[in-house]
Subunit: 224 residues, 2 copies
């Protein structure tokens, strides 16, 4: 982590090997990035560290320099892989400890599941927050109740930190998440399980850019 | 990890919260150390990182300075807790990467499950090897076939690295493991599941010291 990478949360891919099905995850990520993914988070809860490490090295090699690689939970793997940062949940290492171990240049994100956690997170050395889950989702079952779009709007009013909406995001609701105040959307199955991950990413990116254009023309500005 | 701690493998405790039953693991470890445990390895595969971290901090605080704390698998938790080192399995991070990230002062151990792995380990920057499992054991089921005492003797002939025998070790076979060439024995259930962990540790320690005395008088020397 020699430089802190620019963080564009627009289209944030969270990996899921199982959803990739018969396809190699590396191939799915490669296609998704070609389609416009702007951040990749490697989240592999069931891989042993050795396999996670080897997979991470392969994915890091294929990512263009402007697409940061974040690792979920395992700070050791973030270090070993030479990733750009770490994504933490509420049950992972405390953010302050992670920041101390990774230094100021690492990107550190944190999932928040309710307004109390969001309020607490405002004091933490994080680069962005994931509003999780915005909609209910079958791909992550250990989370609290969904924020919904109203919850996302409430979150937006409480912090200037960049926010990525995660949970049940797809082509039909991505624009609404941005309009409710998210800086970007994180997807798992909408890309990993798509028959054509590149095309799925491209469609989502198009929706995101169009939503931004609409918001700009209506002068919807949530930040600051 | 400011200083590399002296490593006395004599009686090496590997923790298992489930075997501790109703008792707090912290309390079991405290008693075991009072009884003579010389190394503690925290192995908690099912705890989330936050809980592992908090447990590790508490255990580190209670250990006397001459009893090193090692963390199983999670190098990030070893760093966060400020442990003395890391114990790796064959499916964990590669030893070279761990050494690079932890530096020369950390104690790094590696489990080897067969002679090929032992041969390969001789080239690695490790401080000790765990011969795993020496006997078959119900507390760890993802290992290869047991080495047996003959296997341990064969291992001893192939390396000068300190060896700790793990797997099914108890009061009845601990002396035999030392006589077959182990520098110490690692136990899980023989202490964690004992009605009186302190007394269990004391008995094991007594057996170890008596075996060493017998070996010395018979001039059984395996090292070098």
């Amino acid at each position: 982590m020699k430089d802190k990478k620019q963080l564009d949360l627009s289209l944030y891919l969270v990996t899921d090997r199982k959803l990739a099905g018969q396809r190699e995850l590396v191939e799915v990520v490669q296609k998704a990035v070609k389609g416009g993914v702007s951040v990749v988070q490697l989240r592999e809860k069931e891989l042993c560290a050795r396999e996670f490490y080897e997979l991470g090295i392969r994915i890091k090699e294929l990512l263009p320099p402007d697409v940061p690689l974040l690792i979920d939970d395992r700070l050791d793997l973030a270090l070993a892989i030479g990733a750009d940062g770490l994504h933490l949940g509420q049950r992972d290492l405390p953010v302050e400890i992670a920041r101390k171990l990774l230094g100021p240049l690492a990107i550190i994100g944190l999932s928040v599941e309710n307004l109390n956690q969001l309020q607490a997170a405002k004091q933490l050395p994080v680069d962005y927050l994931a509003i999780s889950p915005v909609f209910s989702t079958p791909t992550k079952t250990d989370t609290g109740p969904a924020w919904g779009l109203d919850g996302l709007r409430a979150a937006r009013k409480l912090t200037d930190l960049p926010l990525v909406a995660i949970g049940g995001i797809n082509e039909r609701n991505a624009a609404a998440a941005l309009e409710a105040g998210a800086d970007g959307v994180a997807v798992v199955s909408a890309i990993c399980a798509a028959p054509d991950p590149e095309e799925a990413a491209r469609q989502l990116k198009k929706i995101i850019l169009e939503a931004r254009k609409r918001m700009k023309s209506k002068q919807i500005v949530y930040k600051g």
